[in-house]
Amino acid sequence: MFGWVTAPAPERRLLSEGRLRGPTLYVIAIMTFAMVVVAAAGLALANAAGIVARGVDSRYAIQIDDSAALPKVLATVRAVPGVIEASPVPEAEMRATMERWLGPGGLGDELPVPALVNVGLAPGTDSAALGRRIEQAAPGVRFVAHSQVVRPLLKSLRVLQWLALALVALMAAATSAVVILAARGAFDTHRSTIDVMHGLGATDQQVTSLFQRKIAIDAFFGAIGGGVAAALALLVLGGGASALAGDLAGGPPLTSTDIAILAMLPIAAVVLAAAVARVTVLSALRQSL
């Protein structure tokens, strides 16, 4: 009779005058919306960090102040086993890049332009040894790992990612608090019904199931509403974000696994609400005989 998911009509009538339909539903909808959007942002940041990290992995740059040393450096580098790419950046490209800061013609012809060589290493290649050989061949030349350059960016992305996770956890906690308040309110509202049921031999499980089911229904509709709104928001935002992510990191902001995780969040909110309602009502019941 008291299977809490599918309750017969007489059981549903027991709490029919409840005030559960109200703020709880909307608060859970808002929480779910925020949770999904923040989780999506966190996952997108994680993806971006991963894409960036993979993109710069085994990539190095050699900065040569005196471009006369370029041929010697190139010869040294190309002679090292494990170097799969050593391509100098054309001077025109360097000048074009610098003109972004100095303005057109700001560099002038008389100013020397430093040379830059992009280096790609095969996995497992000893980059430190390569650095030492370059230093021996052309003292003063800088051998820089790309990962070192983007490390602050990656660190920021990781921090933002953890921040998003913390926000999701906080929102889950806030949702739990709302459910606790709702369950306690409903419990007080229906105190007389509960007392009568207890007096007639209802078990705690039977009474709890009524509240658990009622709150789970509210949470379900709230979570579906919030989830759908979040999905729409992400679709709208997603177009621009995809292009941006493609430009910045060279990949989509969310993978199919991420989307599956996001789709699970409203379900998790319902399960969480039902579990919290159950624990709240059971603990309240245990205070009575």
């Binding site: 007489p10 009538r13 027991l14 049921m197 007096g199 007639l200 031999g201 005989l289």
Partner: protein, 261 residues
């Protein structure tokens, strides 16, 4: 199939014989029971009595004597603050909280204030004990309709308590209490809101239940009700204790008197 029915009759006969054999055993035992609410004075003191299985008892006494508190101990809404309460051959102080619903399902209660669930119909209120006990809707429908007809409310089955008169609400409360044919029926002023005719009908209902083996405890001020049940026994409470331990025999009992302590 025939042997099945014969087996069924044999079982029923054995059950009746067992019930007769148990008739003199105690269904309720109070031993030095006291009850206080919070830090207040004891509202019940040194209660020592036994109620026989199948007995019919009236609990009388002035207002504030502790009748309702005693009934609360009987229907397990309170635990005693001292002493020992035995119910259905079990010592209740040893019984964990989780086991109490099974005891409560064997007890029917008519509350003084009815305690009907206001958003349920009369039918649903009466059906509630059966549903809690896990009966299917098919098993609920017939007995509830029958019981509502018996208390004269067949045509009010779908009415909510707010639309019923005080007497009708009381009859719904009584129907709810007896629908499961409990082993122990506890009623707090059950005829307080009904006319003499209905009071007589309700007493007949209690008597019929009592004949089927239900132990009845009725708290009442209604002397007419007591007089109409000459086989019943009296318990009188005054200032929280049984004022007249021999008072249980004032209304001559039909059967042997319960053992006195």
């Amino acid at each position: 199939m025939a042997s099945h029915w014969q087996g069924g009759r044999r079982c029923a006969r054995q059950a009746v014989e067992q019930r007769k054999g148990r008739a003199l055993a105690a269904i309720v035992e109070f031993d030095s029971v006291g009850l206080r609410y919070g830090t207040g004075a004891e509202v019940l003191r040194d209660l020592n009595f036994r109620l026989s299985k199948g007995g019919f008892y009236f609990l009388t006494g002035p207002s504030g004597a502790g009748k309702t508190s005693l009934l609360k101990l009987l229907y397990l809404a309170q635990r005693p603050t001292r002493g020992r309460v035995g119910l259905f051959d079990e010592e209740l102080s040893d019984v964990p909280r989780e086991a109490l619903p099974a005891f409560r399902r064997r007890i029917g209660v008519v509350f003084q204030d009815f305690r009907l669930i206001r958003h349920l119909s009369a039918f649903d209120n009466v059906a509630l004990p059966l549903r809690i006990a896990g009966k299917t809707e098919a098993e609920v429908e017939g007995p509830v309709r029958e019981m509502l007809a018996w208390v004269g409310l067949a045509d009010r089955a779908s009415a909510r308590p707010a639309t019923l008169s005080g007497g009708e609400q009381q009859r719904v409360a009584i129907a709810r209490a007896v629908i499961t044919q409990p082993d122990l029926l506890v009623a707090d002023e059950p005829t307080g809101n009904v006319d003499a005719d209905m009071a007589k009908r309700l007493l007949h209902l209690f008597t019929a239940l009592n004949r089927l083996g239900t132990t009845i405890v009725v708290a009442t001020h209604d002397l007419g009700l007591i007089a109409a049940a000459p086989g019943a026994q009296l318990m009188r409470l005054e200032n929280g204790h049984l004022a007249d331990p021999t008072g249980a025999l004032r209304n001559p009992p039909r059967g042997p008197a319960p053992e006195r302590r």
